[in-house]
Symmetry: C2
Subunit: 339 residues, 2 copies
């Protein structure tokens, strides 16, 4: 079976924290056709552990992200198993030696794809969920003249302190398994992956979601325990542990101002974002809080705060889990694209 | 050094789920003097992993729980390392064979202490934080004619589904450590205890607490990582893993209606509580939610909902961590005791 995606070769790609990934690969998939004016481009980065497949729920004819109108590029995050990752990089940067990658690195790689491969100079919209939102904010701050619109949803421009702590719990659970062997595992660290999944389960959906039994009533699981095993453990078990840790580090170290452009001045970086932006947090998201989005919007010249009214917690934003939330999001994206 | 607490021997104590703890011990400490009328009694159960020492912050001359006025009994929860526990029970019910204990069992044991040891027939107030609140609710539903007042704070009458999930994460992290050895550890499962601590860190304090840097600004830790190591890992490491799991099971299976009195009818059990009750959730508590307290109060004939206005999450209620919250709580307890 042929691959359903393409590879852009970044060559020797030097990372922000010092390592160089030689023969670095950026996996991506496109939808629709780039028009002659090259002005119908949407960039739509992936989220924590997600691959381009997992982004497709927001794309479709008649939807805001309509491939009959737009040329939609989904770049896979470094570390996600398709782009260069711990799991697919040859020695010596393989496994736990896979280097630290920042969102800045990811967006730099994506910029090269967009400009070098496709000759695109202007982007209509950058949009993304969760860590995709983190990359969306980075696009806005790193290349402020390059796009008209931004739509980060259920994400932030900088990993909050509490968000870091939540991720510390996930990481500690995953790496507590002796089979993890400091990343040199020869068999999959099942116990650690299952533990990480159970830790994540409390964070992914809101207290209100669980109170309303939506795991059973809406998602069709047969019991709470079935939801923990079938949905959550089933979600984590196929993933490579080192890849998960690469992306976790990327997430924890996300900050649009942590680079040579802004030298840690977060408010300045937010203020530099020119694009018209809809910042859309989930109203009950337990790690990307509405309060954090409010602070961001207050420092952005052209941004509007639009909380997604949902009890689905972080999953209000994706990956297409709740049709009502998808409809809300799609409507707002249509509104933004029409402006 | 003599023990600073007493032991009440429960003899052969049969538990709700079938096991019998032979020569079962209830450790307790009292403050103040039982008056002749035996009408100045306050019962104040312990919380998850806490021992009576950890309850003393709410007791003091001039405070609501004033030992110059009241006879205050702190019974240690079964499984907390002082009362009968996995760590101190001889074979064959030792270690991971220590049986499942419900809050119902705990309160039954406490009732025997109060009535058999002290000949007390009436209690002025039962009060408790967290799992202490869970036991407080149990007192109200199991012995509705026995007390005037109840003050459960940052706790619930039944473990919510989301709360169960959060605890699954803590448990999975703790038990992922190979050194845990299914409870038959010969050396302390340090990695698992530290992992459990990191998981708990995200839940114990609110997002707002971390956003305001209160770990540094108010509690004096030198960095976020210092807080995770010194406070959180330092909190978990001295604890016995099997004891933690015993109490975790007690917590997850807490439900005032899960007994022969109410046969699972939770609303009926809440409705049976006669005592005047102040239900005091923390406004930003991530696992005992105000919404759950609201539902409880709605079904109780004589209860008032009083959220603690605090960003300290679950630690708004204890253990004396934030002086402002302690003052709020103490004031409300004085008001309740004056009624």
């Amino acid at each position: 079976m042929p691959l359903d995606y393409e590879i852009f070769d970044l060559g020797d790609f030097s990372l922000q924290r010092g390592a160089t990934l030689r023969d670095c690969k950026l996996a991506y998939k496109t939808f629709g056709t780039l028009n002659a004016a090259k002005d119908n481009v949407i960039v739509y980065p992936t989220w924590y552990s997600g691959q381009h497949y997992d982004n497709e729920w927001l794309i479709g004819e008649g939807m805001a992200l309509d491939p009959t109108k737009y040329f939609i590029i989904i770049p896979n995050m470094l570390g996600n198993g398709l782009s260069s990752s711990a799991s697919n990089t040859p020695e010596p940067y393989n496994g736990p030696r896979f280097p630290d990658v920042t969102p800045y690195d990811n967006v730099k790689a994506q910029y090269r794809l967009v400009t070098e491969k496709f000759g695109i100079e202007h982007i209509r919209l950058v949009v993304g969920w969760s860590m995709g939102a983190l990359q969306t904010f980075h696009w806005g701050a790193m290349y402020p003249d390059m796009m008209d619109l931004l739509a980060p949803f259920c994400g932030s421009a900088k990993c909050s302190r509490h968000n870091k702590v939540f991720l510390e719990g996930v990481k500690a659970a995953l790496t507590a398994d002796a089979a993890f062997a400091e990343g040199w595992y020869t068999t999959k660290p099942n116990k650690g992956l299952r533990a990480a999944a159970r830790v994540y389960a409390g964070w992914g959906f809101s207290q209100d979601f669980y109170r309303a039994n939506l795991d059973i009533e809406a998602l069709g699981y047969s019991s709470l325990e079935d939801f923990l095993v079938a949905f959550w453990e089933g979600f984590f078990l196929p993933r490579d542990a080192n890849n998960l840790l690469t992306m976790l580090w990327t997430w924890q170290n996300g900050d649009i101002s942590d680079n040579e452009l802004y030298h840690g001045d977060f408010v300045k970086a937010l203020g530099a974002i020119k694009a018209k932006t809809y910042v859309m947090p989930g109203a009950t998201d337990l790690y990307f809080r509405v309060a954090d989005s409010e602070n961001e919007v207050a420092a952005m010249p052209n941004a509007t705060l639009i909380p997604i009214p949902s009890v689905w917690g972080h999953f209000a934003g994706g990956p297409g889990t709740n049709p009502v939330d998808v409809a809300f999001l799609d409507e707002k994206l249509k509104e933004l694209l029409a402006s």
